[in-house]
Symmetry: C2
Subunit: 356 residues, 2 copies
């Protein structure tokens, strides 16, 4: 699978209810007030959404604390990545990363330069500096998917300096921004920069993958270019309406942040007690796991029989079959996963003993 959340493909493996750890969605569910807003607004789908998305952009600007003129919107974050990919000569990515950083530029026939992360999946800034050229589009996940690591602010500043110096452009894909500790806000960090676009989305944190709402902060020059190529009405009416209540739902936002932080700590600590796996640090709501002397297919099949869907990670450029990625979900699901993994290791041990 190129992406998580592809439940239907694996439906035949499950007997009844199952737990999807392959897609990294806020386990609390959608914002509390959204259902009523959508119920009341259903009739609005018989009209076109505002082709200029005036309300939507103003809600986003308020949430991001920036000017409306610096906002772009898209049919999910991926449409924004897609449209920006068209504008630059060449893409530079660090691997492993979200597959679409590589796919979207390729669709437009652009060269994609893939630089590896180091052994602990940290960014090698020197490697980026050496490889970046004028007109390049550097695409970084912050935090990165599937590794879960947020780039430190001073590292980011150093990368940004290099990008500016070379007259290149930096996309920070911050689809998982709100799940992270509040150490810095990249929008404040790069306020007024002409060389950065910071992409976020309602998809993950607001648990709305089905509504398709991506948005970004960037320079006015890029906004203008973007508006010339973007599809008309690319954001649907429901996404437009959702903005009216999700971004101002402070209770939901605070609750979600606290809950995810607690569950992340719980899951990390429990997973680290399990044999034969290496659990990487993460700043957000998913965890990359290295399988020691094991492969993704065996563990995937075992967990599937227990009603658990995890993400095989070998489809990420730069990872082999010895990795899986799991989402941080609610307490019951997380506990269930931990127990299933413990059982799996016992089962493996037993099997190995029997084989010997």
């Amino acid at each position: 699978m190129r992406h998580g959340g592809d439940i239907l493909t694996y439906r035949h493996l499950f007997d009844g209810r199952f737990r999807d750890f392959s897609s990294n969605i806020n386990p609390i569910g959608m914002p509390f007030g959204l259902k009523d807003r959508l119920l009341n607004g259903i009739k609005e789908i018989t009209k076109y959404p505002d082709i200029q998305y005036r309300n939507l952009k103003s809600e986003i600007a308020e949430y991001l604390r920036c000017n409306t003129e610096n906002v772009i919107v898209g049919n999910g974050a991926v449409e924004i990545i897609n449209n920006l990919s068209m504008m630059f000569n060449r893409a530079v990515v660090v691997t492993p990363c979200f597959a679409e950083y590589i796919e979207r530029p390729k669709v437009f026939g652009k060269e994609v330069v893939k630089l590896p992360l180091d052994n602990e999946f940290e960014i090698n800034v020197e490697l980026i500096k050496e490889n970046i050229r004028e007109g390049d589009l550097l695409i970084l996940g912050n935090p990165n998917n599937p590794t879960g690591k947020r780039i430190k602010d001073y590292v980011l500043t150093e990368i940004h300096e290099a990008v500016k110096e070379k007259n290149a452009f930096l996309i920070l894909d911050e689809a998982f921004f709100e799940f992270c500790p509040e150490d810095y806000d990249s929008i404040k960090l790069f306020n007024e920069s002409e060389n950065v676009c910071i992409i976020r989305a309602a998809t993950k944190f607001f648990a709305l993958p089905g509504i398709r709402l991506g948005y970004a902060y960037t320079s006015k020059a890029i906004v203008e270019k973007y508006n010339k190529i973007v599809l008309p009405w690319s954001v649907n009416t429901f996404a437009d309406m959702a903005a009216e209540c999700i971004f101002s739902d402070e209770h939901y936002i605070t609750t979600s942040k606290e809950y995810i932080a607690t569950q992340r700590e719980y899951l990390l600590s429990e997973l680290r007690g399990i044999e034969n796996i290496k659990v990487y640090d993460t700043h957000c709501n998913f965890i990359l796991i290295k399988l020691l002397d094991d492969n993704e297919d065996d563990i995937f099949d075992y967990l599937a029989k227990k009603g658990i869907l995890v993400r095989k990670a070998s489809s990420f450029e730069g990872l082999d079959k010895s990795y899986i990625r799991v989402a941080v979900k609610d307490f019951n699901d997380n506990k269930y996963l931990v127990n299933a993994l413990r059982e799996y290791q016992r089962w493996r041990k037993q099997r190995t003993t029997q084989e010997v």
Copy 2:
């Protein structure tokens, strides 16, 4: 305005309620069973839509009476036009036409050849034959927007032969298909053709511009190419769900067709009794009007004061300021428009007399 339905831009002109004749949406409103389906399905937006759109494509295939493997889907018809534009060397269009036939290929740096329709806005087949080359993408509205005319089946067959012979490709944009008399079905006509894509949408006939659902019938080879470039999850969950009830709502479909046919005849006949305008034939739910010795701005401003929004047509390539386009709406709205146009002509006459 490049498109109709841009109500917000003109809101300041209206005092309270107004009638939007600038966007060509089924006046009956959305299909009867849809509201309940969406109400029941709201929680599904916390999951990704099926990345392969298995259900959606199967519902569409049944509606179009074709195989599922021949179906593509998009974020509105315009995304399908956009993605196909990428695949071909050059676009050929007939003007006036929907602005995006020209815009989308231009976004990808493609040359766009514009061939004029004749004085009665009929297609000049010889001109197309002379100009079409290998690798070209010919984009035709059927019926065409803003002229409202459907291409006769034998004309279409002749064009298709020329397209095949030159190894070019034909897009038929049939976004207004269901509003037309049932004289022929182009999907049957071009069954198994490797050189045609027939695009339709839920937007106009099912009155769902806000939900963003376009779909098309084409060859398996093009479906495969398309799936390689299409954005993941480009159709949102609501559009996916809507397909489960709109295409099988025969009562809604029959009622809409009959109602539009009646109102089209009514509006055409009333408009033809009004002085100083020429009313073109139409096969669908909008009417192009030529203003004799007048311009779109004066009539637009007059009607706006009466709470009526019409489409100025000079933004269509090949039309000057002497045209407007109006939608066929419900009886009360249509009558209101007719009366307002009569008053306008009386007012103009009076003004001219006073000036003399």
